[in-house]
């Protein structure tokens, strides 16, 4: 658009919308900056400083959960312990919540009246009570009320369920794993090659040349063959044992220990988020028009094919975006750990804060960590989402 000088000069600058816009933005920005400066000056007046030098200092508190930590380690390492604990509970929680949500969501749509009613009742109860109440109930009223370790409930495995948490068998790497892992790599490579060949042939001929079973077989058979070729066992099962120590103290040795706090938090997050994911899954499946299934059946697709090729690709497009926000919610909700004493990033920060008195610094670390974790999850899931959206065409 061309403007002549006379037109511009006819509008005085105080009524020129372009000028006014810049003035408005400038005033707004100045107001925000003034507010921040005012806050900082109040902060300074109290004689507070802003420095992260405390991170290198000795923490002098103990952390009972997560990677190894000594009271002589630094604050920075303490924070790392917290971050890793949060990531651990979030990742495990996301996996199990997805499985539970998927199962419940499908159950709710099931033709079996009883199953669908059970799913509905579960979803309604969980969604209409606060997560923190559920966590309190799980921790104080269920897990801490379990029998003591000496009289622990023994589950098949054996796994020991007591008020100190769960101790379960766990596979560990043995010496022979050095010889075995090349087989794993080979299996992965073979599976990838087969998938690429399938894709190519699908694009060229319109049908996959190799059946999907072969991909699966390559992935399972090669490591299995390796298992028998390699001398000795590459993995061994670490089975926990109850040991009576001198003085009547009972201890568990071996296996993997999930502390009662971790168990309660994980269970709580999985049960809570699972109910929300179930609703997401149900909405997604219901969003696929009935005519799609009927048309597929009319064309002679089998039930499995209908679900795999027709319903899921369309449903996933609807499911994934709200699923991302459920994953983010689970991660954020893991901060409730502090109420039941699990040492996640927030709980460790609180301890750091009490020890060092550095409120603002610790606060920025908390915010930064959660934002970073949230962004990472969003990023990964958005990539998945993009791939799904391509299927749409």
């Amino acid at each position: 658009m061309k403007r002549t000088g006379s037109q511009t000069s006819r509008v005085p600058f105080w009524r020129d919308i372009r000028v006014l816009r810049w003035v408005a933005q400038f005033v707004f920005l100045m107001a925000v900056i003034a507010l921040i400066l005012w806050a900082i000056s109040n902060y300074r007046q109290r004689g507070m400083i802003f420095s992260y030098s405390f991170l290198d200092k000795e923490a002098s508190f103990d952390l009972a959960e997560g990677i190894e930590f000594e009271p002589t380690d630094s604050y920075a390492r303490a924070f790392l312990v917290g971050v890793l604990n949060t990531i651990r509970v979030a990742v495990v929680g996301i996996i199990f919540a997805t499985l539970l949500g998927l199962f419940t969501g499908i159950s709710r749509l099931s033709g079996n009246w009883l199953l669908s009613k059970i799913a509905t009742v579960y979803i309604e109860i969980i969604r209409n009570t606060p997560l923190l109440v559920q966590l309190f109930f799980l921790y104080f009223a269920v897990i801490l009320k379990l029998p003591k370790l000496s009289t622990a409930v023994i589950l098949p495995g054996p796994a020991y369920l007591s008020n100190r948490g769960i101790v379960a068998p766990w596979p560990r790497l043995a010496e022979a794993f050095r010889l075995w892992w090349p087989f794993l790599l080979l299996a992965l490579g073979a599976a990838i090659v087969l998938i690429v060949i399938r894709r190519r042939s699908q694009a060229r001929l319109g049908r996959p040349g190799i059946r999907a079973v072969w991909v699966f077989a390559a992935f399972v058979l090669i490591p299995l063959a390796g298992w028998f070729i390699v001398p000795g066992r590459p993995l061994w099962l670490d089975i926990p044992e109850l040991i009576q120590k001198s003085g009547g103290v009972i201890k568990v040795e071996g296996g993997i220990t999930l502390s009662s706090e971790f168990t309660a938090l994980l269970l709580g997050l999985v049960i809570y988020t699972g109910a929300y994911i179930a609703e997401v899954v149900r909405a997604g499946l219901q969003s696929v028009a009935k005519g799609q299934t009927e048309a597929a059946r009319a064309q002679g697709f089998t039930n499995g094919q209908i679900i795999r090729l027709i319903v899921l690709p369309q449903a996933l497009r609807v499911i994934i975006p709200p699923l991302i926000s459920q994953y983010l919610n689970l991660t954020k909700n893991s901060s409730l750990a502090i109420a039941i004493g699990f040492l996640d990033l927030y709980a460790v920060s609180q301890t750091m804060l009490n020890q060092s008195g550095r409120v603002v610094e610790v606060f920025f670390m908390i915010m930064g960590s959660y934002l970073a974790i949230s962004l990472t999850i969003s990023l990964i899931m958005n990539i998945v989402n993009k791939r799904m959206q391509i299927v749409e065409r």
């Binding site: 007046q45 209409n128 009570t129 109440v133 559920q134 109930f137 927030y346 949230s374």
Partner: protein, 351 residues
């Protein structure tokens, strides 16, 4: 005999037919039904046996007043009941006149609702320290279900105007305003509520001049409002996006300026669209108020925690938390039921 006269096979209709169709065919469904039935029987048996025989419910019945108003002085409890009465009367009137659209009574009701806030605030807080009629009840002793309700209602009401402004800011064509609003909204939505509460409890006082001292409850309210307003903003933004383009164009065509267009044309439609979402958000906030227990306030869950510490009731976590959960469930279920009804009535998403 005409084909239509043949009665349907006996097992296709009636109770047996229903059972067969919904529970026992094909064969794997029958297995599923039996497994589910076993599960239900097990759960119901465990819960009933506990609730009827082994649970000691006197911890709840004796403390029922504590759960409701907590440490609010017992002699002043009538003020809480009076506040509840005001709300109930207003709600009943609103329901009674729900069909009277456009009549002046509706306008009066809206004004009465708005006026009820300061009235209830004064009623709960009282006047001076030694006022004979209504002595001051400091916000520090508000607790129990009362505090839960105060936090949730004040939180959602206070966050509403901020949220609307933020939503407008995020849709603004002025880049500085848009970027600042977006940063605010996305930062708050990216972090847990507990970290925002942490900020309002511990950090906020450091950034205020020393002469301003906020009570713990007030600081929690600031945190809840800041947190909630980001979510309100996103809800309102969704409502704004749902207003058809033609509405903006028509408003401009009749010569309204930007502000009038927003106030008279766009916002009324956008806000009507977001009512169900706001009710949903209120339910979420109502549940989220439990988090203030972590910063040391005694709302319903906090009172529950305190009750389990009473000497004669030590260790009765199951009864107490079960009761708290049931209370929350009743409130939240009613609200989400109401929200669904409202959604149907307003026909959101049906146009």
């Amino acid at each position: 005999m005409e084909p239509s006269d043949i009665p349907p096979p006996r097992v296709e209709v009636g109770v047996l037919g229903w059972l067969k169709k919904n529970l026992f065919s094909p064969w794997y469904n029958a297995l599923l039904t039996i497994a589910s039935l076993a599960f239900v029987v097990f759960v119901v048996r465990v819960v009933l046996r506990w609730a009827l025989f082994s649970a000691r419910w006197e911890v709840v019945t004796i403390n029922i007043k504590v759960f409701m108003i907590g440490r609010y002085p017992a002699s002043e409890a009538w003020r809480v009941i009076a506040s509840l009465g005001i709300v109930l009367v207003l709600a009943a009137l609103t329901w009674f006149f729900r069909k009277a659209k456009g009549r002046p009574i509706r306008r009066w009701l809206v004004l009465a609702w708005i006026a009820s806030f300061p009235v209830i605030g004064i009623l709960l807080r009282g006047f001076g320290e030694d006022n004979p009629f209504m002595p001051r009840v400091s916000a520090e002793v508000w607790s129990g279900l009362l505090l839960t309700l105060v936090l949730a209602i004040v939180g959602i009401v206070a966050s509403f105007p901020i949220g609307v402004l933020m939503a407008l800011g995020r849709r603004s064509r002025l880049p500085v305003i848009r970027v600042l609003c977006t940063i605010y909204i996305e930062t708050i939505r990216g972090v847990p509520l507990i970290s925002v509460l942490f900020m309002s409890q511990l950090m906020l006082p450091l950034f205020l001049p020393p002469q301003i001292r906020l009570a713990t409850v007030m600081r929690a309210l600031v945190g809840i409002t800041l947190f909630s307003s980001a979510y309100t903003a996103e809800n309102v933004r969704g409502g704004l996006a749902a207003v058809p383009r033609g509405q903006y164009e028509a408003a401009q065509a009749v010569g309204l300026n930007k502000a009038l267009m927003m106030i008279l044309i766009v916002l009324p439609q956008a806000l009507r669209n977001v009512i169900p979402a706001i009710v949903g958000q209120f339910t979420a906030l109502f549940k989220d108020t439990t988090l203030v227990v972590i910063v040391g306030l005694l709302e319903l869950l906090g009172i529950g925690k305190a009750v389990t510490g009473q000497k004669q009731f030590i260790g009765l976590h199951q009864e107490v938390y079960f009761f708290v959960a049931v209370l929350f469930f009743i409130c939240c279920y009613l609200m989400s039921y109401g929200s669904r009804r409202l959604e149907k009535k307003l026909g959101v998403g049906e146009r």
